[in-house]
Protein backbone atom coordinates (compact mmCIF):
# COMPACT_ATOMS: atom_id res chain seq x y z
CA UNK A 1 0.00 0.00 0.00
CA UNK A 2 2.75 2.39 1.04
CA UNK A 3 4.81 1.47 -2.02
CA UNK A 4 1.90 2.15 -4.33
CA UNK A 5 1.41 5.57 -2.78
CA UNK A 6 5.08 6.41 -3.31
CA UNK A 7 4.87 5.22 -6.89
CA UNK A 8 1.82 7.37 -7.47
CA UNK A 9 3.60 10.38 -6.05
CA UNK A 10 6.55 9.72 -8.31
CA UNK A 11 4.29 9.28 -11.32
CA UNK A 12 2.43 12.53 -10.60
CA UNK A 13 5.77 14.36 -10.19
CA UNK A 14 7.06 13.00 -13.51
CA UNK A 15 3.84 13.93 -15.32
CA UNK A 16 3.92 17.45 -13.83
CA UNK A 17 7.54 17.85 -14.85
CA UNK A 18 6.79 16.66 -18.38
CA UNK A 19 3.86 19.10 -18.64
CA UNK A 20 6.12 21.91 -17.42
CA UNK A 21 8.94 21.13 -19.86
CA UNK A 22 6.80 20.28 -22.91
CA UNK A 23 4.35 23.13 -22.22
CA UNK A 24 7.16 25.64 -21.82
CA UNK A 25 9.13 24.38 -24.82
CA UNK A 26 6.16 24.35 -27.20
CA UNK A 27 4.75 27.60 -25.90
CA UNK A 28 1.23 26.41 -25.07
CA UNK A 29 1.90 27.14 -21.40
CA UNK A 30 2.90 30.81 -21.02
CA UNK A 31 5.16 29.95 -18.03
CA UNK A 32 7.99 31.97 -19.44
CA UNK A 33 6.14 35.27 -19.79
CA UNK A 34 4.08 34.98 -16.60
CA UNK A 35 7.03 34.10 -14.36
CA UNK A 36 9.28 36.71 -16.01
CA UNK A 37 6.67 39.47 -15.55
CA UNK A 38 5.92 38.42 -11.97
CA UNK A 39 9.55 38.49 -10.90
CA UNK A 40 10.72 41.45 -12.96
CA UNK A 41 10.59 43.89 -9.95
CA UNK A 42 13.13 41.70 -8.05
CA UNK A 43 15.08 41.33 -11.29
CA UNK A 44 15.17 45.09 -11.83
CA UNK A 45 16.57 45.75 -8.35
CA UNK A 46 19.25 43.06 -8.71
CA UNK A 47 20.08 44.13 -12.26
CA UNK A 48 20.51 47.79 -11.30
CA UNK A 49 22.79 46.81 -8.42
CA UNK A 50 24.81 44.67 -10.84
CA UNK A 51 25.05 47.54 -13.35
CA UNK A 52 26.22 49.92 -10.60
CA UNK A 53 28.87 47.46 -9.44
CA UNK A 54 29.97 46.89 -13.02
CA UNK A 55 30.32 50.65 -13.55
CA UNK A 56 32.25 50.97 -10.31
CA UNK A 57 34.74 48.36 -11.65
CA UNK A 58 35.02 50.35 -14.90
CA UNK A 59 35.67 53.52 -12.97
CA UNK A 60 38.31 51.75 -10.88
CA UNK A 61 40.06 50.73 -14.09
CA UNK A 62 39.90 54.30 -15.37
CA UNK A 63 41.28 55.61 -12.10
CA UNK A 64 44.41 53.54 -12.59
CA UNK A 65 45.26 55.21 -15.89
CA UNK A 66 44.33 58.62 -14.58
CA UNK A 67 46.64 58.19 -11.60
CA UNK A 68 49.52 60.13 -13.15
CA UNK A 69 47.28 63.02 -14.15
CA UNK A 70 45.77 63.16 -10.69
CA UNK A 71 49.25 63.46 -9.19
CA UNK A 72 49.94 66.46 -11.42
CA UNK A 73 46.80 68.24 -10.31
CA UNK A 74 47.73 69.61 -6.89
CA UNK A 75 44.38 71.04 -5.98
CA UNK A 76 42.37 67.88 -6.47
CA UNK A 77 41.23 66.10 -3.34
CA UNK A 78 39.24 63.05 -2.24
CA UNK A 79 35.90 64.81 -1.89
CA UNK A 80 36.14 65.93 -5.53
CA UNK A 81 36.91 62.37 -6.59
CA UNK A 82 33.91 60.94 -4.80
CA UNK A 83 31.65 63.61 -6.36
CA UNK A 84 33.12 62.83 -9.76
CA UNK A 85 32.34 59.14 -9.42
CA UNK A 86 28.70 59.96 -8.56
CA UNK A 87 28.43 62.26 -11.57
CA UNK A 88 30.17 59.90 -13.98
CA UNK A 89 27.31 57.41 -13.74
CA UNK A 90 24.85 60.07 -14.92
CA UNK A 91 27.33 61.35 -17.50
CA UNK A 92 27.75 57.87 -19.04
CA UNK A 93 23.99 57.57 -19.40
CA UNK A 94 23.72 61.04 -20.94
CA UNK A 95 26.48 60.47 -23.49
CA UNK A 96 24.94 57.14 -24.46
CA UNK A 97 21.57 58.83 -25.05
CA UNK A 98 23.28 61.60 -27.07
CA UNK A 99 25.09 59.02 -29.21
CA UNK A 100 21.87 57.17 -29.80
CA UNK A 101 20.40 60.26 -31.43
CA UNK A 102 22.97 59.84 -34.27
CA UNK A 103 21.20 57.39 -36.56
CA UNK A 104 17.69 58.40 -35.47
CA UNK A 105 18.31 62.12 -36.18
CA UNK A 106 19.99 61.47 -39.55
CA UNK A 107 17.44 59.07 -40.92
CA UNK A 108 14.46 60.78 -39.25
CA UNK A 109 13.13 57.46 -37.94
CA UNK A 110 11.24 57.34 -34.67
CA UNK A 111 12.86 55.39 -31.89
CA UNK A 112 11.99 54.30 -28.37
CA UNK A 113 14.70 54.32 -25.69
CA UNK A 114 14.72 51.14 -23.63
CA UNK A 115 16.77 49.64 -20.82
CA UNK A 116 18.28 46.15 -20.79
CA UNK A 117 16.80 44.15 -17.89
CA UNK A 118 18.79 40.92 -18.14
CA UNK A 119 21.10 38.89 -20.35
CA UNK A 120 20.72 35.26 -21.43
CA UNK A 121 22.35 33.31 -18.56
CA UNK A 122 24.75 31.25 -20.71
CA UNK A 123 27.58 31.86 -23.16
CA UNK A 124 26.05 29.96 -26.11
CA UNK A 125 23.08 32.10 -27.14
CA UNK A 126 22.91 35.89 -26.95
CA UNK A 127 19.61 37.54 -25.99
CA UNK A 128 18.56 40.40 -23.74
CA UNK A 129 15.23 41.28 -22.18
CA UNK A 130 14.24 44.95 -22.44
CA UNK A 131 11.91 46.89 -20.14
CA UNK A 132 9.36 48.00 -22.75
CA UNK A 133 6.92 46.01 -24.84
CA UNK A 134 3.77 46.03 -26.93
CA UNK A 135 2.07 48.68 -24.80
CA UNK A 136 4.95 51.06 -25.55
CA UNK A 137 4.70 50.54 -29.32
CA UNK A 138 7.38 47.89 -29.71
CA UNK A 139 6.61 45.25 -32.33
CA UNK A 140 8.12 41.89 -33.25
CA UNK A 141 10.92 42.23 -35.81
CA UNK A 142 11.80 45.81 -34.83
CA UNK A 143 15.46 46.78 -35.27
CA UNK A 144 17.45 47.64 -32.14
CA UNK A 145 20.33 50.15 -32.36
CA UNK A 146 22.87 51.92 -30.17
CA UNK A 147 23.65 55.20 -31.92
CA UNK A 148 24.81 54.22 -35.41
CA UNK A 149 25.52 50.61 -34.45
CA UNK A 150 23.20 47.64 -34.96
CA UNK A 151 22.50 45.81 -31.69
CA UNK A 152 19.92 43.21 -32.79
CA UNK A 153 16.21 42.73 -33.43
CA UNK A 154 13.11 42.15 -31.35
CA UNK A 155 12.02 38.51 -31.61
CA UNK A 156 9.30 38.36 -28.98
CA UNK A 157 7.05 41.00 -27.40
CA UNK A 158 4.66 40.94 -24.47
CA UNK A 159 2.77 43.74 -22.69
CA UNK A 160 5.59 45.41 -20.82
CA UNK A 161 8.76 43.71 -22.02
CA UNK A 162 10.41 42.28 -25.12
CA UNK A 163 13.24 39.94 -26.10
CA UNK A 164 16.06 41.10 -28.37
CA UNK A 165 18.28 38.69 -30.31
CA UNK A 166 21.74 40.28 -30.38
CA UNK A 167 23.89 40.45 -33.54
CA UNK A 168 26.34 37.94 -32.04
CA UNK A 169 23.75 35.18 -31.54
CA UNK A 170 24.40 32.08 -33.72
CA UNK A 171 20.89 32.42 -35.24
CA UNK A 172 21.29 36.07 -36.24
CA UNK A 173 21.70 36.84 -39.97
CA UNK A 174 21.95 40.17 -41.81
CA UNK A 175 23.06 41.10 -45.34
CA UNK A 176 25.99 43.49 -45.20
CA UNK A 177 28.66 45.19 -47.27
CA UNK A 178 31.69 47.35 -46.71
CA UNK A 179 31.21 51.11 -46.50
CA UNK A 180 32.34 51.82 -50.09
CA UNK A 181 30.01 49.17 -51.48
CA UNK A 182 32.67 46.97 -53.09
CA UNK A 183 31.91 43.83 -51.06
CA UNK A 184 28.78 42.00 -49.90
CA UNK A 185 28.27 39.10 -47.51
CA UNK A 186 26.22 37.74 -44.63
CA UNK A 187 27.02 38.52 -41.01
CA UNK A 188 26.21 35.89 -38.38
CA UNK A 189 26.98 35.34 -34.74
CA UNK A 190 28.96 32.51 -33.15
CA UNK A 191 28.75 30.70 -29.81
CA UNK A 192 30.85 32.68 -27.34
CA UNK A 193 29.90 36.06 -28.79
CA UNK A 194 32.09 36.35 -31.90
CA UNK A 195 30.75 37.67 -35.21
CA UNK A 196 31.79 36.55 -38.71
CA UNK A 197 31.02 37.70 -42.25
CA UNK A 198 30.47 34.84 -44.70
CA UNK A 199 29.82 34.36 -48.44
CA UNK A 200 32.34 36.96 -49.54
CA UNK A 201 33.33 36.40 -53.18
CA UNK A 202 37.08 35.97 -53.58
CA UNK A 203 37.28 38.62 -56.31
CA UNK A 204 35.67 41.24 -54.08
CA UNK A 205 37.71 43.99 -52.57
CA UNK A 206 37.74 43.58 -48.78
CA UNK A 207 40.53 44.67 -46.44
CA UNK A 208 41.19 44.58 -42.72
CA UNK A 209 39.83 47.65 -40.91
CA UNK A 210 37.06 48.08 -43.52
CA UNK A 211 33.83 49.20 -41.87
CA UNK A 212 30.97 46.74 -42.34
CA UNK A 213 27.46 48.18 -42.62
CA UNK A 214 24.01 46.75 -43.31
CA UNK A 215 23.26 46.67 -47.05
CA UNK A 216 19.48 47.00 -46.70
CA UNK A 217 19.06 44.38 -49.44
CA UNK A 218 17.21 41.93 -47.19
CA UNK A 219 14.43 44.46 -46.60
CA UNK A 220 14.56 43.68 -42.88
CA UNK A 221 17.30 46.05 -41.74
CA UNK A 222 17.72 49.67 -42.91
CA UNK A 223 20.81 50.43 -44.99
CA UNK A 224 23.87 51.95 -43.34
CA UNK A 225 23.77 50.62 -39.77
CA UNK A 226 27.30 49.90 -38.59
CA UNK A 227 28.19 46.31 -37.64
CA UNK A 228 31.91 46.76 -36.99
CA UNK A 229 35.35 46.54 -38.54
CA UNK A 230 37.10 43.67 -40.33
CA UNK A 231 39.70 42.15 -38.01
CA UNK A 232 41.02 39.34 -40.21
CA UNK A 233 40.16 37.57 -43.47
CA UNK A 234 40.56 33.84 -44.15
CA UNK A 235 39.37 31.34 -46.76
CA UNK A 236 36.16 29.39 -46.05
CA UNK A 237 36.39 25.61 -45.41
CA UNK A 238 35.11 24.81 -48.91
CA UNK A 239 37.65 27.20 -50.45
CA UNK A 240 35.02 29.02 -52.53
CA UNK A 241 34.42 32.08 -50.38
CA UNK A 242 36.23 34.31 -47.91
CA UNK A 243 35.31 34.60 -44.22
CA UNK A 244 36.03 37.74 -42.20
CA UNK A 245 36.13 38.11 -38.43
CA UNK A 246 34.28 41.26 -37.40
CA UNK A 247 35.02 43.36 -34.31
CA UNK A 248 31.53 44.63 -33.50
CA UNK A 249 30.99 48.35 -32.86
CA UNK A 250 28.22 48.08 -30.26
CA UNK A 251 29.69 47.20 -26.87
CA UNK A 252 27.34 44.29 -26.28
CA UNK A 253 28.97 43.40 -22.96
CA UNK A 254 28.08 46.78 -21.56
CA UNK A 255 24.87 47.49 -23.46
CA UNK A 256 22.38 49.06 -21.00
CA UNK A 257 20.42 51.71 -22.91
CA UNK A 258 19.41 51.01 -26.51
CA UNK A 259 16.88 52.30 -29.03
CA UNK A 260 14.17 50.36 -30.79
CA UNK A 261 13.26 51.67 -34.25
CA UNK A 262 9.48 52.05 -34.57
Amino acid sequence: MRRLSRRRKLLISIVMLLVLVVGGATGWLPIHKVAFQAFSPIGNILNKSGVRLSRAFDELGQLGSLGRQIDELEGENLSLNSRLSQLSELEAENSQLRNQLGYAARSKVQTISVEVVNFQPDGVRQFVHINKGESDGIRKGAVVIDGDALVGRVIDVSGGSAVVMLVNDPEFRVLVGNQNGTTTGIVKGQPGGAVIMERIQKNQNLHTNDTIVTSGLDGEFPKGLVLGKVESITESNDGIFLVANIAISADLRRVRLVQVVR
Binding site: V21, F36, L46, N47, L53, D122, Q126, P191, G192, L252
Partner: protein
Protein backbone atom coordinates in the same frame (compact mmCIF):
# COMPACT_ATOMS: atom_id res chain seq x y z
CA UNK B 1 14.15 25.94 -2.25
CA UNK B 2 14.34 29.65 -1.51
CA UNK B 3 18.12 29.28 -1.34
CA UNK B 4 18.29 27.83 -4.88
CA UNK B 5 15.82 30.43 -6.18
CA UNK B 6 17.89 33.24 -4.69
CA UNK B 7 21.03 31.80 -6.27
CA UNK B 8 19.27 31.68 -9.65
CA UNK B 9 18.04 35.28 -9.39
CA UNK B 10 21.51 36.38 -8.33
CA UNK B 11 23.06 34.52 -11.29
CA UNK B 12 20.59 35.84 -13.86
CA UNK B 13 20.11 39.45 -12.83
CA UNK B 14 22.99 40.56 -10.63
CA UNK B 15 25.96 38.52 -11.87
CA UNK B 16 24.57 38.63 -15.43
CA UNK B 17 24.65 42.43 -15.33
CA UNK B 18 28.28 42.38 -14.14
CA UNK B 19 29.54 39.85 -16.68
CA UNK B 20 27.46 41.34 -19.51
CA UNK B 21 25.98 38.07 -20.69
CA UNK B 22 29.00 36.51 -22.40
CA UNK B 23 30.20 34.52 -19.43
CA UNK B 24 27.79 32.62 -17.22
CA UNK B 25 28.64 32.56 -13.53
CA UNK B 26 27.12 29.15 -12.81
CA UNK B 27 25.97 29.59 -9.20
CA UNK B 28 22.96 27.30 -9.67
CA UNK B 29 25.14 24.41 -10.89
CA UNK B 30 27.43 24.80 -7.86
CA UNK B 31 24.51 24.83 -5.42
CA UNK B 32 22.78 21.86 -7.07
CA UNK B 33 26.09 19.92 -6.89
CA UNK B 34 26.35 20.80 -3.18
CA UNK B 35 22.77 19.74 -2.41
CA UNK B 36 23.08 16.54 -4.49
CA UNK B 37 26.36 15.67 -2.77
CA UNK B 38 25.33 16.46 0.77
CA UNK B 39 21.55 15.92 0.99
CA UNK B 40 18.88 13.42 -0.06
CA UNK B 41 18.05 12.59 -3.67
CA UNK B 42 14.50 13.92 -3.25
CA UNK B 43 15.66 17.32 -2.07
CA UNK B 44 18.36 17.48 -4.74
CA UNK B 45 15.83 16.74 -7.52
CA UNK B 46 13.52 19.45 -6.15
CA UNK B 47 16.47 21.89 -6.08
CA UNK B 48 17.40 20.95 -9.65
CA UNK B 49 13.84 21.61 -10.87
CA UNK B 50 13.58 24.90 -8.99
CA UNK B 51 17.02 26.20 -10.03
CA UNK B 52 16.50 25.00 -13.60
CA UNK B 53 13.07 26.62 -13.74
CA UNK B 54 14.45 30.09 -12.96
CA UNK B 55 17.22 29.67 -15.52
CA UNK B 56 14.58 28.63 -18.08
CA UNK B 57 12.47 31.70 -17.28
CA UNK B 58 15.41 34.03 -17.92
CA UNK B 59 16.48 32.17 -21.07
CA UNK B 60 14.82 32.63 -24.42
CA UNK B 61 15.45 29.34 -26.20
CA UNK B 62 15.56 25.60 -25.49
CA UNK B 63 13.05 25.55 -22.63
CA UNK B 64 13.62 22.41 -20.59
CA UNK B 65 17.31 21.94 -21.41
CA UNK B 66 18.49 23.37 -18.09
CA UNK B 67 15.99 21.47 -15.92
CA UNK B 68 16.82 18.18 -17.68
CA UNK B 69 20.58 18.79 -17.32
CA UNK B 70 20.32 19.58 -13.61
CA UNK B 71 18.20 16.46 -12.96
CA UNK B 72 20.71 14.30 -14.86
CA UNK B 73 23.50 15.97 -12.87
CA UNK B 74 21.78 15.07 -9.59
CA UNK B 75 21.34 11.46 -10.74
CA UNK B 76 24.99 11.32 -11.81
CA UNK B 77 26.15 12.56 -8.41
CA UNK B 78 23.88 9.99 -6.78
CA UNK B 79 25.73 7.22 -8.64
CA UNK B 80 28.96 8.86 -7.49
CA UNK B 81 27.76 8.74 -3.87
CA UNK B 82 26.76 5.07 -4.17
CA UNK B 83 30.32 4.36 -5.31
CA UNK B 84 31.46 5.83 -2.02
CA UNK B 85 32.82 9.10 -3.38
CA UNK B 86 31.25 11.65 -1.04
CA UNK B 87 31.69 15.36 -1.69
CA UNK B 88 33.11 16.02 1.74
CA UNK B 89 36.49 17.20 0.55
CA UNK B 90 37.03 20.60 -0.95
CA UNK B 91 39.19 19.30 -3.82
CA UNK B 92 36.65 16.72 -4.94
CA UNK B 93 33.81 19.23 -4.65
CA UNK B 94 35.70 21.76 -6.82
CA UNK B 95 36.47 19.09 -9.46
CA UNK B 96 32.83 17.94 -9.61
CA UNK B 97 31.63 21.57 -9.89
CA UNK B 98 34.15 22.25 -12.66
CA UNK B 99 33.17 19.16 -14.68
CA UNK B 100 29.47 19.90 -14.15
CA UNK B 101 29.82 23.51 -15.35
CA UNK B 102 31.79 22.42 -18.42
CA UNK B 103 29.21 19.73 -19.24
CA UNK B 104 26.44 22.29 -18.75
CA UNK B 105 27.93 24.64 -21.37
CA UNK B 106 28.54 21.78 -23.82
CA UNK B 107 24.99 20.49 -23.19
CA UNK B 108 23.57 23.92 -24.09
CA UNK B 109 25.76 24.04 -27.20
CA UNK B 110 24.39 20.64 -28.28
CA UNK B 111 20.81 21.89 -27.75
CA UNK B 112 21.60 24.99 -29.80
CA UNK B 113 23.04 22.72 -32.50
CA UNK B 114 19.80 20.69 -32.56
CA UNK B 115 17.75 23.89 -32.70
CA UNK B 116 19.72 25.66 -35.40
CA UNK B 117 20.83 22.72 -37.50
CA UNK B 118 24.39 23.99 -37.74
CA UNK B 119 26.77 25.41 -35.21
CA UNK B 120 30.51 25.72 -34.94
CA UNK B 121 33.02 25.79 -32.08
CA UNK B 122 34.90 29.07 -32.54
CA UNK B 123 38.04 29.87 -30.48
CA UNK B 124 36.00 32.49 -28.62
CA UNK B 125 33.79 29.74 -27.19
CA UNK B 126 36.83 27.95 -25.80
CA UNK B 127 37.80 31.27 -24.21
CA UNK B 128 34.34 31.53 -22.66
CA UNK B 129 34.65 27.98 -21.25
CA UNK B 130 38.07 28.77 -19.75
CA UNK B 131 36.72 31.96 -18.13
CA UNK B 132 33.60 30.19 -16.82
CA UNK B 133 35.69 27.30 -15.45
CA UNK B 134 38.06 29.67 -13.65
CA UNK B 135 35.12 31.43 -12.01
CA UNK B 136 33.51 28.11 -11.01
CA UNK B 137 36.79 26.88 -9.48
CA UNK B 138 37.17 30.12 -7.51
CA UNK B 139 33.57 30.23 -6.25
CA UNK B 140 33.34 26.53 -5.34
CA UNK B 141 36.74 26.63 -3.60
CA UNK B 142 35.96 29.74 -1.58
CA UNK B 143 32.36 28.88 -0.66
CA UNK B 144 32.84 25.14 0.09
CA UNK B 145 32.86 25.59 3.88
CA UNK B 146 29.85 27.91 3.94
CA UNK B 147 27.92 25.72 1.48
CA UNK B 148 28.63 22.67 3.64
CA UNK B 149 27.25 24.46 6.69
CA UNK B 150 24.25 25.93 4.82
CA UNK B 151 23.32 22.89 2.74
CA UNK B 152 24.27 19.99 4.94
CA UNK B 153 23.28 21.66 8.20
CA UNK B 154 23.40 19.27 11.14
CA UNK B 155 24.59 16.35 9.02
CA UNK B 156 28.07 17.88 8.74
CA UNK B 157 27.93 21.03 10.84
Amino acid sequence: MLFVSMAAWLQVYFLGAISGGYIAINLVVIIVVAIAGMRSLKLAIAAAIMGGFWLEVASVTDFGARIIFLILLVLGIQVFKRLGLLLEHRGLFVIVCLISALLYSIWLLIWAWFGLGEISWPPEFSGVLVAESTIVIAISFITFGQLRRLVAGRQYG
